[in-house]
Subunit: 316 residues, 4 copies
Amino acid sequence: MPSIAKLGHVAMVTKDIDKSLWFWRDVIGLDEVGNDGETVFLRAWGEFEHHSLSLTEGPESRIDHIGWRCGAAEDVGAYAALIEESGIAVTHVDGDTQTGHGDAIRFTAPGAFPYEFYFEVDKPHLNGERTSRLKNQSGKPHHHGISPRRIDHVNMRAADVKGFEDWHNDFLGFKTREYITMPDGTVLGTWQSVTTLVHDVAIVLDPDGRDGQFHHVAFYLDNWQDILRAMDILSEHEIKPDLGPGRHGISQAFFCYVTDPGSGIRVELFSGGYQIFDPDWEPIEWKLSEADYGVTYWGADYVIGELPAMDRTVTC
Amino acid sequence: MPSIAKLGHVAMVTKDIDKSLWFWRDVIGLDEVGNDGETVFLRAWGEFEHHSLSLTEGPESRIDHIGWRCGAAEDVGAYAALIEESGIAVTHVDGDTQTGHGDAIRFTAPGAFPYEFYFEVDKPHLNGERTSRLKNQSGKPHHHGISPRRIDHVNMRAADVKGFEDWHNDFLGFKTREYITMPDGTVLGTWQSVTTLVHDVAIVLDPDGRDGQFHHVAFYLDNWQDILRAMDILSEHEIKPDLGPGRHGISQAFFCYVTDPGSGIRVELFSGGYQIFDPDWEPIEWKLSEADYGVTYWGADYVIGELPAMDRTVTC
Amino acid sequence: MPSIAKLGHVAMVTKDIDKSLWFWRDVIGLDEVGNDGETVFLRAWGEFEHHSLSLTEGPESRIDHIGWRCGAAEDVGAYAALIEESGIAVTHVDGDTQTGHGDAIRFTAPGAFPYEFYFEVDKPHLNGERTSRLKNQSGKPHHHGISPRRIDHVNMRAADVKGFEDWHNDFLGFKTREYITMPDGTVLGTWQSVTTLVHDVAIVLDPDGRDGQFHHVAFYLDNWQDILRAMDILSEHEIKPDLGPGRHGISQAFFCYVTDPGSGIRVELFSGGYQIFDPDWEPIEWKLSEADYGVTYWGADYVIGELPAMDRTVTC
Amino acid sequence: MPSIAKLGHVAMVTKDIDKSLWFWRDVIGLDEVGNDGETVFLRAWGEFEHHSLSLTEGPESRIDHIGWRCGAAEDVGAYAALIEESGIAVTHVDGDTQTGHGDAIRFTAPGAFPYEFYFEVDKPHLNGERTSRLKNQSGKPHHHGISPRRIDHVNMRAADVKGFEDWHNDFLGFKTREYITMPDGTVLGTWQSVTTLVHDVAIVLDPDGRDGQFHHVAFYLDNWQDILRAMDILSEHEIKPDLGPGRHGISQAFFCYVTDPGSGIRVELFSGGYQIFDPDWEPIEWKLSEADYGVTYWGADYVIGELPAMDRTVTC
């Protein structure tokens, strides 16, 4: 069976690329690593692919696609076959037309999410002032802005959480790590991973019953304190976070959520969490009655449908 | 002119001394340093007086008094004379009847706050497992619970903020460091100190026009991270903070507010802030229109009168 | 091919079990989770197996075995066959005779290291004051002592680093992540993992040409600041660390090394590091000339053979 | 009696102003706030005077003077009279010839240290991108480099520690807070302050019996973690610290010492420490036998005369 190795990148379309660039590059502190005239590519200093974020201007902000790196070169084709067999149309993308990675496939996953799978990548070769002395890092940390280490996960909202979750597990090889159930058994949210992270992807019920809603992409910082420093930096830039700082019980994340003013796309600044190395992990169920501290171990409360800043999504 | 050297202690009366002791000793992590059968005395590990908090059981929770240590032995008497001259009754307290300090005076300050002034103190001589290797600390840090370093300030609510503020400055030698004004010029809140701290005392307008309302006592922790660790500890003890973590613009405090479930008295866990060494400090005015980020530089918003958990006070 | 899922536990024999228990339980802050009269079992609060450390008294301190949890039940037997085929004797251990895990195999790996492989484990079911509110943790953090989250890796010294490294990779499925080479090409040290951690095991050349030398077991803490707090706690217990705090370039670890005074076995308190999710990771070579900041990105210098406190090992 | 309010600034002469500017502005992260063609003035973001550091090029690196801000305008003249009376020559400096402060006096204090006293200062009025939203800060934190908050103290070496200490206390109004004595009673080092800080100045015995040796100026950072981040930044700039990170018992400082490659003048990056609010503080004596953990509570050991990197001084 083919496998996914990791979340690779999120390709964003933004209504205001100048404001988005200011946000992601200058405030969040990603490095601009390429610009083909239409699309700007950005990377965090601790990443080993060409980019983890791209920004293209367009009439409406949206997620163009979510890129997943496969576990082996042959997995891209193997997934293409499996997915087509299941009745989902697959588009083949020639690596020559792409910046930063090789041949890829694209398709719309259940829940209306645009996925891209690829394996070959251009590995970063930084020169000059952005090169770290550390041979195991692609760039220099603490260079400017908030300066996260790497992309961590994506969080989406859909109408049928369980359906999307099962497809992730059955077709793509994800494992459910934690989930919330409502009294009638409906799955309200699920945290799934292909790695040892608690989640590479989370899916939460859309309160309006829509599919294809992108809630946030997360970037990882090494220390909780780095997120407090980020709060200062956001405030000095007169950016008001959507929520945080606080700590989730589920995933154990120390978090701050903040929205790119250019695109309306949200980022979670994320530190901590935990790793699952045990092969026989039993998914942890949080009943709705426990979800209060499951969602908010501490920090400002968040209930879906009650905090407009956190409920905004961008359609894929 | 006599002077106050520092905030010394807060003497609390609690309806439920067992629950209060659990909170202040086991959760907050103060050391129990004395118990005369009626009153329990507690101290943080970085303090140089006998105690900074006392708990006595009583029918209603209240603040018995707020203890201020004077700058010199003769200042106690000098203050007594000054205060009596101004028409406020002063009670003399014999040191032999006190635990931890010598002769004192007590009086009700404008705004209906019970103050105690003293100079002589019993200095801590810990023995055994609580003694630090550091000769410049009275106790061992990190021993149990949240483990703050020292008492920092008190925050009260009164009907006439400006009146109380002026009396503090004119009679006691405080300096106003920062303050908030409403469009009509009324002072909404003031932060005052006798030390280089931004505030040893803050006074905020009581929304119900009452005097003698005690809002919180603050304890200082060395690092912001210590407050995040405190959040974990509070959550594990199923204690929900009133507000935080967050950062004030005024005072620059990184904070968490949490209420003793025994007495209903609130404590601010406080780190950071800044020092004022300049002798010609001009008090910083925050207009109400700026008070949003003055009060909440980041973290959950707080507006007086809109957050019941934070608006509860205890009458002195 | 069978797989190893993770490092499980280190079984220690100590000359002075009282002093070792004081160190690992009271100072390091592991929880004592079992005691069969002869052996004491300990676990960190964020672990999902029965224990990660055991202490048995004996005439000489040594490592009894290093326990690795396999990826599936059938892998234990599959490894047994493979290893026996390669000419290494394998002992079968009945799970009924074990505390905390099921049937296992034991054998002496190249380099004279006693390994144990198993799959079935007793999962923690804590009750009472040590149970976390978080359903995704087995215990309560911050309870006492330094309080690390989980076991992280082991570090051993051997005469033939490359030989042991190759066997790990070829027979057990490890991947080399980083390594140091001397001018003549000899491998001085190697960092290998089966997980996404940079290393589950490190092997370094023994300066005296011995095999079977155990250098340290590492425990992971969530934040760098937690290690600074640990430094305070160690100093208050009059324990002088062997090295630290400092940061390695290789593995990017923020570290402190300290030795159990009972057994002479060293622990690394470890935070930070990085994760390798990319499937085509090319092992990073550090030439000896680069090894100065590879070993010490910052903090006190360490050169093998020049710091007696760090060079002491315990024979397996 | 006149008083000193605080340490104001250190005026440095450097052999290589370009390298010094790179170090203090770009790496340490002070803001360049003035440049009169000959001298460059720098300030940290949390300071309320015009500058805390100045750099002037010269044939030999040295300290031109150490500037102390007096408690009141009239104190400058009062000190002039007192000091002249004691037989020390005083030079009057016209404020019109100075950048950032008004009329001043200069003299050579016992121990051959060039002191400047002044009161009037130009207060910072930043505009544009460096202005903080916080009205109680002069600049924006986290803007570039290590970004300390404020100047903290100076540390000098002299032949007669006790003589200099006494003169500080008797003539200038300092208080001794902590000190180290040798078996014969000689004072090896002393920590003195006019503020509530443990030390605004420290004086340590010069191992070569010289006077007028400047050891370091310290800058304060809010959190211990900020110093760990500084270690990363220094290492990425290929600057090897002289010592650290570590923690002193005396003063309780969490520290890193690092030398400006342009001038050879050392800076201590300093966080933590403690405050002395008690008016009857008894100076804490550390006997030489206790000085090991008094000097190094934890971190790399430092003994005067045994660590060349830390023993280098610059002559005033």
